[in-house]
Amino acid sequence: VVSVVTVLLAWTFLTETEIIPPSYLASPAEVVDAGRRLFGEGFAGSSIYAHTYASLQRWWVGVAAAAVVAVPFGVGFAWSPRFRYALTPTFETLRYIPPFAWVPVAILWFGPGLTAQAMVVYIAAFPPIVLNTWQSISSLDPILLKASQMLGLSPRQVVSRVAVPTALPGILVGIRIALGNGWMALMGAELIAGNQGLGFLVVAGQRNTDLGVMMFAMLMIGLLGALTDVILQRIAGWLTRWRRGLEAHG
């Protein structure tokens, strides 16, 4: 805590005395002022709410779409070796193309907007969900499945009572990584093209040499990313609460 305060004081001192010129770094007061302006009149054509909403919407639409397709994909990888063999070369080739390299394609196909930005998020979010789903399904204990079958559960019950709960933590880890990747990819995509969103706000601040806005937008980006991660961890913890007792016993 002391060190954070020291950094903040040093930041205030260096910027207020203009040892670091204001064109290089905004002072804390300017950042606060930029925040006030953003919440009041907005910046670059939209209010801060509209920018934040645009980013969050693209982010969640992209990750949700990725999850809807990638989870069945991962299950397919785990259950059918043929399916996996057939798709592995394509999947592995595409996986190594950095998500940002898709930005020009996304813009070319859809023009800057929700669809193009969500597509970049989708591409960044897809592989971790597939890989983690695959891994958690294929590591299901076969003895556990057979035992539950033998103890009289119907196939449907085996899936809903045994397979889903045991695989869920792994899938949720994949979604968490996907959210992190997606947020980063989205910020890149918004920096490169578009006219709304928090990433765009950073560039708009740069273009108007309004460093307060730039830094405020960066703070928002960091905050929202961290906040979502915490919330998701809470949800994951709640969904897999049955594990708590087990872990305590080793």
Binding site: V4, Q135, G222
Partner: protein, 263 residues
Amino acid sequence: MWSSPLVLGVAATAAFIGIWQVVADLELVSPLLLPGPGEIWSRFVRMWTTPYQGNTLVGHTAASLRVAFTGWGVAAILGLPLGIWIGWSRTARDIVMPIFVMLRPIPPIAWIPFAVIWLGFGVTARSFVVFLSAFFPIVLNSVEAVVSIDKVQYHAAANLGATPRQTFRRIVLPTSLPILLTGGRIALGNAWMTLVAAEMLGATAGLGFTALNARRTLDSDIMFVAMGVLGVFGGLISLGSTWLERKATPWATRFEAGSGPVQ
């Protein structure tokens, strides 16, 4: 025959490329939006010799690799000592960690506009952004590498008369080296990914620049060539560094299938 990974993989991929080619030939999708694989391939071959925006494909690739490895190298040179220091000293941890926790959630990409303000549109600005993306995993893994050394073993070795050098080789290195290498590998992956975004914002050479510029001029085949090369090098970097890591530290227990998340 239809259960062999090789046969199935090759057949499915060939079918995929074939369908793509047919779609392109029949112009079901405008070639402006999605050129066929044949067209992309012939452009790829031509780009070896014909310069695009002042550089051949080799020149752009070299420019990208240079920036990625410069940023990563500087991150390793600064990050390793810092991480080891934080790992050794509680005071250092108390001073630096809060600042880290504060800065870490901000994606390195978001620093690009700042890099442009501070350093202009040049190799330095791009290398700086790449540096940021590689710096955090290297520092955090260096901290982890020091912290994970077994203190009891360490002191026992010293008490039993091991020289500092022996202690280092037998106790410190075996546990910490794998963690350090993992940090380096993750950092290199981040570096390559971040590089692309950095090259799209203020650059005059490089694969990311090529891809974005080709969209503006609607040379979509060039765009896909740049993406393909980015993917190939991304794969090479990832597989190569994983291989090196295994060769260098064969004793380390890796994540086996079914344990731990996949990035």
